[in-house]
Each structure stands twice: as structure tokens, then as C-alpha cells.
Symmetry: C3
Subunit: 320 residues, 3 copies
């Protein structure tokens, strides 16, 4: 990835809705900027005045600790003011439409609205109607673009490139917005993506996205540079997607034996929270090849970059 | 309204509990200061150091996103520190009295306590016992003074005066603290107030407040400068206040036809959240005469002014 | 207590887990620093830049308004950024282990993690695994060290010393982390501690802690310098710990008569929230000898001192 040419560029988008929309140059600009912001979180005084006087509202219609916290810390390290709104199902019942809620928030002059919603497309609906920037923090089964970006940053840092790498994504692809964002992002950056999972969890449209499909975990991880395990949503058990946890784990749980099939320096990734002993063996999650906590660290950097670029900041940093 | 004489004045109250208590000069001082603060939220750096090092606690015994967010943003734009406490019924069950809770918070040396409570008079109870300033953010069926003030600011900006205007307030007057604050405020400023609603929703004391009462929406809006629709609290259905939503909407829902009866430049207002198609037709809520989102914007400015004046700030701004 | 020798000292611990672990010098260092910080909360601008750019995360697995608010205000007055996570039982169900949650938060580079958890030892588990500082804000029936410290600060301020004082602690000792922290702390500082409560509420290990035990409230408070009443956890009624509130109150509720048995200037304390008329008569809680609200005020100062010292700050202040 050559990023030098991007330096000083202005990111022209108002919103970040999904990785399907972004060009290679745009993804590169975010990753380059994120890499340059990472150092701020290692300082003794972890704060720069870049977004002082900006207001960032997080509007979460699904509970989340990890993602909301990551956005909040990212905003605060840039000196933005943050306001958190967690809207429980019960209070959405009050009958106000999502658009009315968002229009109301916009009338308070926030700069950026970070939204998570159970309905695919909700952030797009708002982005089209608001002057504020909208960041998609997860919409239904659709996309979770900052997760995709932090995953790409993690791989880029470890491998020095994204182009030509083999990325294996394993688990419930059909119900994973994380998988979708990663597929779009890695494909755009020139990586090869192979997915594996039970037949009931593989959606029909994968071939159209240029993704190779297999029902075998071993086949997926063979010669992989990156093995990305998805969280099994335990609440789907009993919905016919899989029979028992034990069976799922036997066929699609990553254990040390699988690592021997992949490249010797293959990275193990997981978006969290982990179901230890289900989709990933504890010794693999905590092993030397695991990048799981680096992903979280990079989440703050990527979200700082996104908030900064959407606010009109210049692309900074350089290629690795 | 002549505000010049108020400039440089100090607001002498410790608390803002209701608009029934405020003089014409005091209301004028808040509106003038709010108008001058509005510009801050339009800047690129939306923040002034006015209340740096002050602590504002929001203590909400009823859930709220809109009002709490508005106060929080107002405080942050003045550089105050904010702490949010939302007390669910379940944790009030722990048995501590409201006064003990408030005394405890006061012992942490906040400057201003913003309280919402289901019991009328709760903020007054606290104001009498605390050295901190207390702002009523809605108490039972009693008052919601910052809502009244933001409504008055919205009308003042649009009409250049409050004196002599005809304000129609429509809906469930009996159960609306918004209506009460507006009636007190607008009457004090010399406006004429007429209210309309079903007989079951009109309290007996209205005549004493100098308010004209009618059971006809058309009669209320005739020649009105301002039409303020109240939110129908849907949970009251089945309590004999009205029979069906459809019937309520037919008699007391504002539609484009009603606007023709009012002054040509009449303002349409609503405190939110909207029940679209119940008390207000969508095309009216979103129409050219609607000031609904301006109300929200003015909410931040009014709350900035209130926090500032209660902290000992000087009245600023000038008459329109 | 001689504190002069401690000035300029660096507090060498990474974590504050319990008062059982602290030496006399360490407790003295925290109290001295807290006393010097108290003045900040009395200023018009209640804020110093000491911890600017530090991130403090509060992670509460049990609901709390008082303690969480106190930590949040303490952090903000030192200019730290705060992020609040209240984890309901429901979302812990998602299956992530406590250690994984904490490791994830740590990957976002917080400086200090303040944790409350229903399991005794949870903060210790995390402290051993995280590079961030961990502060125990209450763990099961084990310890609540900042509560013990604020109680000691309150007594020290009022009496000028801790050594040789007689401290009576009354109530459900067996289920009180507040009692345990106070017993450890006061014993270390050379105070005499006597506890009283119903037999079912006195744990067997008290003699080993150098504590005198009695089943009589009158005996406990005789000649006491400090009477510390514990909150009766009403939810334990019906678990055979006591028969009725009325009976509990009759035998272990503090009333004005008891004060005559204690030293004339004895201090009355309670960690809150109060059950008025159960463990303490209202006229005693609100009486001249009550230090209950001073405890709350000192809570902010003690937490400022703890956050500051764990961040590498120098011990400040002097002996009273």
C-alpha cells in the first residue's frame, strides 16, 4: 500500500456508512491517518486539541460497551465533547420515529452522530437527511465499517501490506456485519478472502463479492495469512443454524492444530466478545499469534482517524 | 420587549423552579442572554470557557433523552463538567429519601443540580434545603420552565415581540407541565393565551390564569400568531380522557386546513416527541410554518443562559 | 499522626485493592494528600490540570449512584477524562469473562480502572493481569477501601488523630465490606475498634482482627469517640438474620439516648444510604454530632488523592 500520495488530502465524505462504498484510496487514507494517531494513546498525556469544541453524539439502539467506549475514548483523546444516548427498546416505544429523534439531535448542533441500530440501513436513512456527519457503528446484518477498518489496520501493521494476502473468515457469515465490512474492505485492498462455516450460515451472495467459499475450516485456513474467527451468537442455537455448541466447536472452532495449516506467521483475529472454547480455543486466543487485543487498541486509533477526517482534517501519516 | 435596560444586570435567583415565579424583567433577561448565546453553537469551535471548573449534575427520576441531552450539551459548551444520574424506580426503592439523595450530591460540591421528578414540587423541596442552584427540568404536572423559555425565545425571534400576540395551546392541558409553564410565561410577557382541548383535559383553574378556554380547535387557532400543539400521552387512552386516537385526531389534530384560519405567518410549535398523525399532521409538522426544530435549537441556548445566569453571570445581549 | 515525613514521597503501589494491605505510612500518605485536595472543591473554579490527558474508566457490575458519582467528580476535578460502564447482569450474560472484558478495556489504554463487582476478589484478579491501575470500589463482602479512607479522613479531621481513639461499628458486620475496610484501616492506625450487632450478623474471625465484640449497642458506644452505624440491607430480612425491622431498630438503632453514653463530642457516621428510623433515628442522623455529609464531601477528596497517587503523584499536605 502506498500512502504517501494521500498525505495532505482532505477526506471528502460527510459520512462513513460502509466499506462497500469506499475506494482503495479512501481506505488507505483512513488507515494511514489511524496509524499516525496510534501514538497519542501511548503518551503520558493522551490528548490532543484537534477536535476541541466539537460535539460527538453516540446514539445506540443496541446495547454495547466495547464499541461505544472505543468511540467515546477516541473522541475524548481528540478533545471533542461527547454525549451518550442509549435508547432501550422501551423508550423507543414512546413512538417517535428514528428520523424525528435524529432531526432533534441535529437541532442541537452536533458535529458527528455515531449510530448503532438493529435495522440495516438506518444510518443511511439519517445520513441523507442530516447535515451532521453520520458514522455507522453497526446496522443490523449490514455493515460495521470501523470494525472492518480496525481489522485492516491490524493486518497492515503486522504484514506491511494487504494486497495479495489470504484472509480466512470463519463462522456465521450470514448474520455478521463484521464479516460483510471485512469482505468489502479486504477485497477492495486486493486481498484474497475465503470464508468457511456451516451451510446454514453462508449467504448465497458470496460469490458475487469475489469470495471463495468452503465448508471446511481446514481448507479455509490452509496457507492463510490471517484467520478471522467470528463470534457465534449463542442465541441463534435452537433456530436450526446449528445443532449443539459441541458440534459447532468440533467443526468450526479454531484450535492449535489448525494453526499448523496456515502460514507460520498467520495472525489470529476475533472481533470479540469471545466465546472461549466455542469458536476459539483459549490457548489460541491467548497465543503468540493472537492479535485480538491489538484489534481493540487499533479500534481507538481508527475511530480517532474517522472522527478527524469527517471533521475536515487532513490525511496524515505515511505508508508502513 | 425592551431588554437594553437589563444588560449587565445580575440574575438574583439561586434557582429556576417555575415561570409562575418570574417577573417580566427576569424572563426578558433570560431570553436576551439566550439569544446572545445562540451564536456559540454555530461556531466551528462551539465552546466558551465561561463555566470552566463548575460541576452540573443532572438528576433524572424520569427517563428523558431530549431534555437531559440539551442540558448536557449546554453545560459542555460553557465548559462545565457534567455528571448524569438517571435514577430508575428500582433503585429509588433502596429507600433513601429524595432529600437525602440530594443532600449527598450537594456534599460533593456541585454548582447546579438539574432535576426531573414525577412529583410536583420536588425541585422546590430541594431548592429550599440546598445551597446549590436547582433547575427544574420538569416536575410532575407542575412546570417545565426551560421548555416555556425556549418556546418564548422561539416566538420572540420570529415575531420580534411577545406582547399582544395570540398564542393558542391545544391538547391535554390538564396533564401538561409544558402548558402550565407556557401559560405563566406568555401571560407575564403580555401575550393573550387561548387553550383548546377535550373537556376532560381542561383543568378548572384556567380562568384564574387569565386564559381563554374553548372546546373547538378552529376557534382557538382563529387569528392566532402561534399554534402550540401538545403531545398526546398515549398511555392515557383507556383512562376515559378520550375514546380513540382517531376521534382525538379528528377533533384536536392540527391539519393544513386549520392553518388557514390562523394569521398567515402563524408559527406551529410542538414540544416533542411528535405523535405524527395524531395531534399533528405530518405535512404541518414538516411545513414551512413549523418552528419545531428551532425550538430544540433554542433549548440549548436557553439552558446555557439559565446555567450561566444562575452561576452569577451578567445578563448579556440586546432586544431584537 | 505525623505526616510531615511523607511529603514528597511517591506512592509505590499500582493498585488500591484493600486496606488490609496498606501500611500505616501508606494510609497516612493518602489521608494527608486528600486533606490537601479538599480545598479544590471549595474554589469557584473547582478544577486543576493534574491528570489532564489521563483516562479513568469506571466499571460497575453493581448499580451505584453515590460511589460512581464521587469517583467521576474526583476524576473530572483533576481534569482526567472519564468513561462510565455500568454492566447489568443481563449483558454480562453475553458470556464474556470478567478478565476478557478488562483486557479489552485495557487495550484502549486507560490509566486507571475503578471496579465494583459482586464477587470478592474480582479487582485483585484484574490487578494481577493488567498494567493499568485498578481501584476497588467495592468487591462482594470483602473491602471498599476508599470508603474506609474517607471515614478515616473524617475522623482525623475532627479529632486530630486516629491513634488511641475508640471506634464503635454497629450493625451487620458479617455482610459489610465497609466494616471490613474500616476495621483494617482503623486498627492499622492504632485505633481501638469495638463492633456490635445481632449474633447472626457477627462473623467468627473478628477476634483475629483485634476487634472487641459485643451484642449490646449501649456497651459498644460507651465512651466511644466515633459511632459508625452500618446500613441495614433490608433485602436480608426473611433470611433469618433478624426478625422484624422494629425489633432490629429497638436493639440496634441509634437514638439520642445512646449518644449520652459516648464521649460528649463523639462523631456519628454512616456510609449511606440511610434507612431513617431503622438503624439510625432521624434526629441523630441530622444532629450536631453527625458527620454523615462530611463523609460524602471527604469521599471526593480521598478519591482525588487515590487517583493522583496511583498516577505517580507526590504525597502532599501536612499533618493536621
Amino acid at each position: 500500500m502506498q500512502a504517501d500520495d494521500a498525505r495532505g488530502m482532505i477526506f471528502r465524505r460527510k459520512d462513513l456508512l460502509g466499506l462497500a462504498d469506499l475506494s482503495r484510496e479512501e481506505i488507505q487514507a483512513i488507515l494511514t491517518t489511524a496509524a499516525s494517531f496510534k501514538e497519542i494513546s501511548t503518551r503520558s498525556i493522551k490528548k490532543v486539541p484537534t477536535l476541541r469544541g466539537k460535539t460527538v453524539i453516540t446514539l445506540f439502539y443496541e446495547p454495547s460497551t466495547r464499541t461505544r467506549t472505543s468511540f467515546e475514548i477516541a473522541a475524548k483523546r481528540l478533545s471533542a465533547d461527547t454525549v451518550n444516548l442509549t435508547v432501550a427498546a422501551s423508550s423507543a416505544v414512546k413512538g417517535e420515529t428514528l428520523i424525528d429523534t435524529a432531526k432533534n439531535l441535529e437541532a442541537m448542533a452536533p458535529d458527528i452522530l455515531v449510530i448503532r441500530h438493529a435495522s440495516s440501513g438506518a444510518p443511511h436513512l439519517l445520513a441523507a437527511r442530516l447535515r451532521s456527519s453520520v458514522v455507522n457503528a453497526g446496522d443490523g446484518l449490514h455493515e460495521h465499517p470501523t470494525q472492518g477498518l480496525l481489522d485492516m489496520l491490524t493486518v497492515w501493521e503486522a504484514k506491511g501490506r494487504l494486497d495479495g494476502l489470504k484472509i480466512a473468515i470463519v463462522g456465521d457469515i450470514a448474520h455478521s456485519r463484521v464479516a460483510r465490512s471485512n469482505i468489502h474492505g479486504f477485497r477492495t485492498m486486493g486481498s484474497e478472502v475465503v470464508v468457511a462455516g456451516p451451510q446454514t450460515m453462508l449467504p448465497p451472495y458470496l460469490a458475487d463479492l469475489g469470495v471463495r467459499v468452503t465448508f471446511s475450516l481446514s481448507e479455509a485456513v490452509a496457507d492463510a495469512d490471517v484467520i478471522m474467527m467470528l463470534r457465534l451468537q449463542l442465541e441463534r442455537q435452537g433456530q436450526m443454524f446449528f445443532s449443539t455448541l459441541r458440534e459447532y466447536s468440533r467443526f468450526f472452532g479454531l484450535n492449535p492444530g489448525h494453526l499448523k495449516l496456515a502460514k507460520p506467521d498467520a495472525l489470529v483475529m476475533h472481533p470479540g466478545p469471545l466465546n472461549r472454547g466455542v469458536e476459539i480455543a483459549p490457548e489460541v486466543a491467548d497465543g503468540l499469534q493472537s492479535a485480538i487485543l491489538t484489534q481493540v487498541t487499533n479500534g481507538v486509533a481508527v475511530r480517532m482517524a474517522v472522527l478527524y477526517l469527517l471533521s475536515g482534517g487532513e490525511v496524515s501519516g505515511a505508508a508502513a
